[in-house]
Amino acid sequence: MTTVSTPQTIHRVDRGIGWGFAAVVVAAWIVLLGLHFIGRFTLDVAFFLAAFVLAAAIFLVSLYAAARLFEHHRLHRADRMPNLLPVPTWLATYARYLTPVGFVAGIIFGHYFWH
């Protein structure tokens, strides 16, 4: 059986994987929040598990992207950087502030209020 993989189907799979992982992360966060509220996990344990879930999702998505690029290179197939989680342009504009804002907020909160 021959697998037909056009750029459209490849990008559809990319988006499926990206949004799939995003959904898993959000679902896991909701579950962890629930486990915290029923007293199963303390807030700090739930927080670090939530960070673990996010890091694990990015880890797996990056591995997928790398594997796909290597495979397409091996097959001499033209390819470009996978856009796994396409977001609207207006949101992408604000996304550039995400890293510095997250860093500053995290370092101040973590240093003065955590533990």
Partner: protein
């Protein structure tokens, strides 16, 4: 021999200024790593003072110094990333090289580097959660001990980490 020729070809293709920046970065990073390893191996025992099983928060350097040094290092890392991206753009224009989309191996290696960084982060997060949940010392406590043992090296390590964060995780190009 073929590998040597290939490495030479790669080196020749890189922009000189950019190569210099990368080499300086590599030397600084390796020197920094060596300093941390030496400091760790030569440290005296028992520098971490315990109080009821927890490391004491003894602050020789004001807390705000750590925070602001980190913020400055983060911004410096970002500035260096900006300079690097400008150099890449100029090199691309001069050598008629194309963007990352036409270099799948380079793009794949970037993704592998991201995966490695987040793999380490993932292990740290699960370790922190596990230790907190089951009553072992979390990574945070060891960080406190290192601050007690040598505040200046800990400050340098914090600044180094924040610099790397700004350099590799905040790489937005502000002007095209």
């Amino acid at each position: 021999m073929a590998l040597v020729d290939r490495l030479r070809a790669v080196a020749a293709g890189l922009d000189r200024a950019r190569t210099t920046i990368l080499i300086v970065e590599l030397i600084v990073f390796l020197g920094f790593l060596g300093f941390v390893v030496y400091g760790t191996l030569s440290a005296q025992q028992g520098l971490c003072v315990n109080q009821n099983g927890h490391p004491v928060r003894r602050v020789d350097i004001p807390s705000s110094v750590y925070v602001f040094t980190c913020l400055i290092a983060f911004i410096l890392g970002h500035v260096l990333a900006q300079i690097d991206s400008v150099l890449v753009r100029h090199a691309s224009a001069r050598e008629a090289a194309t963007d990352i989309d036409s270099r799948p191996i380079a793009a794949a290696l970037i993704h592998l580097a991201i995966a490695t960084a987040f793999g380490v982060l993932m292990l740290m997060m699960v370790t922190e959660a596990f230790t907190l949940r089951f009553g072992f010392w979390p990574i945070t406590y060891y960080a406190r001990c290192s601050i007690q043992a040598s505040p200046s090296i800990a400050l340098l390590a914090a600044a180094g980490l924040c610099f790397l964060g700004g350099r590799w995780f905040w790489v937005v190009e502000w002007r095209r």
